[in-house]
Amino acid sequence: MPLIFTQRADNWLRRGMAGAFVSVVLGITGLYYYAPPEYTRVGYAPKQPVAYSHELHAGRLGLSCLYCHTGVEESSVAKIPPTQTCMNCHQAIKADSPQLEAIRVSWAGGGPVRWERVHQTPDYVYFNHAVHVRRGVGCVSCHGKVNEMPVVVHEKPLSMGWCLECHRHPEEHLRPPDQSTNFEWQPPQGQNQRDYGLTLKDQFGIRAPETCTGCHR
């Protein structure tokens, strides 16, 4: 039987197949690594119209999250504070600072300050801040240690898999509801998070939904 392919063509075929195989493996690996929010969203730290530092206000000054984010306990949104909240202090403190120019313009009737949104769930996710905060999921669980961030960085992926990790094992993250805004909270001496979390889970009857309609409608 005569050879259909020359030795040369056979070599090319082998090379091509090996190359294609490695390309597919690399491609899939690349997608797994680069496509999820763990890559696309984590680390996002947009430049804001005012270089507001959570590290200064929530950290060193010790202001509560609730001083500005007043909606977080009873609404699905935490609320970005209105300009008036800034002016509570900044009409008197650093009133002439060039950094606060955007705030003064807004206060003088120039419309809202156009803050860049950092954490954003897709529109088909109906996340509710109030139910989480009032059941003892701390701010820190989803936003990281904001009180140590001069510029807010998107620290957690907020991907669906990440949400579900906690919905399946809420005890790993629960704390007493009145400690929700406390960044330094630790379980009581001699108890680990898991056991303490299970107690709270029982006490507050927490059944975090794992069905689609829990978050998507």
Binding site: V42, C89, A92, I93, D123
Partner: protein, 218 residues
């Protein structure tokens, strides 16, 4: 064969160089790989919208109106029950006034739960300026704010509850209105707590039960 792998290795290196690693801090907008239905044609709270001239989706309530979220079923047409609070007509509760005189007694039942709520809210909204003890020495005074009222002094002890309510709601002097930040009920809780705080700050030896006076150290 060597060239194929070399080429792929170089391509991989290039991708890693360009794309970086997970968690790299950057101000670039998140890359949307599949953006289907992530952004739906609707207005989200506090979001921008092209319809109104000022570019905001949310509207300022017209003067003389009360917000109604559509969830207050007792106010719906045909409801057998009425919500007396819908119009916020109770001047004593919503404005701290009866006619032109200040309310002198807290309209809420003052119990431990209310005081604890007041303490918590005082810590969030008042303590930054007035200080945890109410002496007007909050953290902000270290940054140059002067003239913060000490709200546990004799002058404030004479101030009726209703006037306290009015100052919290509408501000006074340099103090901005806190009505938009603190709910009505919480304002009354804070007032109840401030009364307790004031008493504790102005306590004398006669306020201590005789049985434990010996334990006090000067």
């Amino acid at each position: 064969m060597r060239w194929v792998f070399l080429g792929l290795a170089m391509l991989t290196a290039l991708v890693i160089r360009e794309m970086g690693t997970r968690g790299t801090v950057s101000d670039r907008r998140p890359l949307m790989v599949f953006s289907d239905m992530d952004f739906q044609p609707r207005y989200n709270p506090q979001a921008a919208g092209p319809f109104f001239a000022d570019g905001r989706a949310m509207r300022t309530p017209p003067a003389g109106t009360v917000p109604f979220g559509g969830t207050d079923y007792e106010c719906d047409a045909g409801s057998p029950r009425q919500n007396p609070d819908l119009l916020r007509e109770d001047d004593a509760y919503y404005r701290g006034k009866k006619g032109t005189t200040w309310v002198t007694v807290n309209p809420l039942r003052v119990d431990m739960k209310l005081l604890q709520r007041g303490q918590e809210r005082y810590g969030i909204f008042c303590a930054p300026c007035h200080g945890a003890t109410g002496k007007g020495n909050g953290v902000i005074t270290q940054y140059g704010l002067t003239g913060v009222a000490g709200i546990t002094d004799a002058l404030h002890a004479l101030m009726p509850d209703g006037q306290f309510f009015d100052v919290i709601s509408n501000g006074k002097g340099r103090m901005m209105p806190y009505g938009p930040q603190i709910k009505v009920r919480d304002r009354w809780a804070i007032i109840a707590y401030v009364r307790a705080l004031s008493r504790s700050q102005n306590a004398g030896i006669t306020d201590v039960p005789e049985s434990i006076r010996g334990e006090l150290k000067p």
